[in-house]
């Protein structure tokens, strides 16, 4: 039994239908434990005070924001090469989630930045890159909505996603070149000296797991929605 069997919409619907209840419980558990632990169970940072608690939302959402795009890139490539409809629809399903995560990362960052950096917004390379990422998501979603023929839309958005990835990466380097930032280094490095203190590290990991699960479950539900809508549209065409 190969992984590609799940490219069959019927198989996918069956598996995802069984997975969603289990994953929902896991997601709720992880998010609840992670966020409650982070909010109530962590000490204040000696420099940042209680604002350090924002990390439990900021870092996971930022990670998902980037990884959702990477997932879209992979599923787009699968669509272009193997023409599996589920793959194209999964990419479409992931985009609004990625956009929301980008907005959460930017929003929590801005709120945190006001007391810490003294400003909601600075043209720091990472902030700028995230704003650019949000624009890429917007363009991608707008293109999906603009084209009626779903196969053409899937083709064009996939190509846009590929080209966009290259240019998003180039923009990242260009922005670094253009301005040196005030962002702190990696919060998650495996190198003990570098990453945040253990008191924050473990709840952060739980939160990240929760966000990843939430992303997976939302993608599954949205992909199912897309599959159903398409099936309904084809039935409608046949019925009338």
């Amino acid at each position: 039994m190969s992984f590609w069997e799940y490219a069959n919409p019927v198989k996918f619907m069956g598996l995802s239908g069984r997975l969603i209840p289990v994953l929902s419980v896991l997601t709720a558990l992880c998010l609840a434990v992670g966020i409650l632990w982070g909010f109530f169970g962590t000490p204040d940072d000696y420099k940042q005070g209680s604002t350090v608690k924002i990390i439990f939302l900021h870092v996971p959402s930022a990670m998902i924001a980037i990884n959702a795009w990477i997932m879209m890139m992979i599923t787009s490539l699968v669509w272009l090469i193997r023409r599996h409809h589920v793959s194209a629809l999964a990419a479409k399903a992931a985009a609004p989630i990625g956009l929301t995560m980008t907005l959460i990362a930017l929003g929590t960052g801005a709120i945190w930045g006001k007391p810490m950096w003294g400003t909601y917004w600075a043209w720091d390379p990472r902030l700028t890159s995230f704003m650019i990422l949000a624009v890429f998501y917007l363009g991608y979603i707008a293109l999906w909505n603009a084209i009626e023929d779903t196969d053409v839309a899937a083709d064009l958005t996939s190509i846009l996603c590929m080209v966009g990835s290259v240019f998003a990466l180039l923009s990242r380097y260009a922005v670094n070149f253009w301005n040196q930032g005030l962002h702190q280094g990696a919060s998650l490095s495996l190198d003990k000296e570098e990453h945040v203190d253990n008191a924050f590290y473990f709840p952060l990991l739980v939160c990240i797991a929760g966000f990843v699960l939430l992303f997976v479950i939302l993608v599954l539900i949205r992909t199912r929605t897309e599959i159903r809508l398409r099936r309904a549209a084809s039935l409608q065409a046949r019925n009338t």
């Binding site: 604002t51 709120i111 929605t225 809508l229 019925n239």
Partner: protein, 49 residues
């Protein structure tokens, strides 16, 4: 409620904004899923006739 000190507003605002966005996204996703299911069921019922 932990003592959030002078940054209480900041922390709570960040959590509220994030929750609003996350719950909003989940709610929209759920509503769309329900609608799609209803639509498909209706179409399949019509075909079954």
């Amino acid at each position: 409620m932990p003592d959030l000190g002078k940054y209480a507003d900041t922390v709570i605002l960040a959590y509220v904004v994030s929750f609003v966005l996350l719950i909003g996204l989940s709610a929209i996703t759920w509503a769309q899923s329900r609608r799609a299911k209803r639509l498909l069921d209706a179409e399949e019922a019509r075909r079954g006739k």
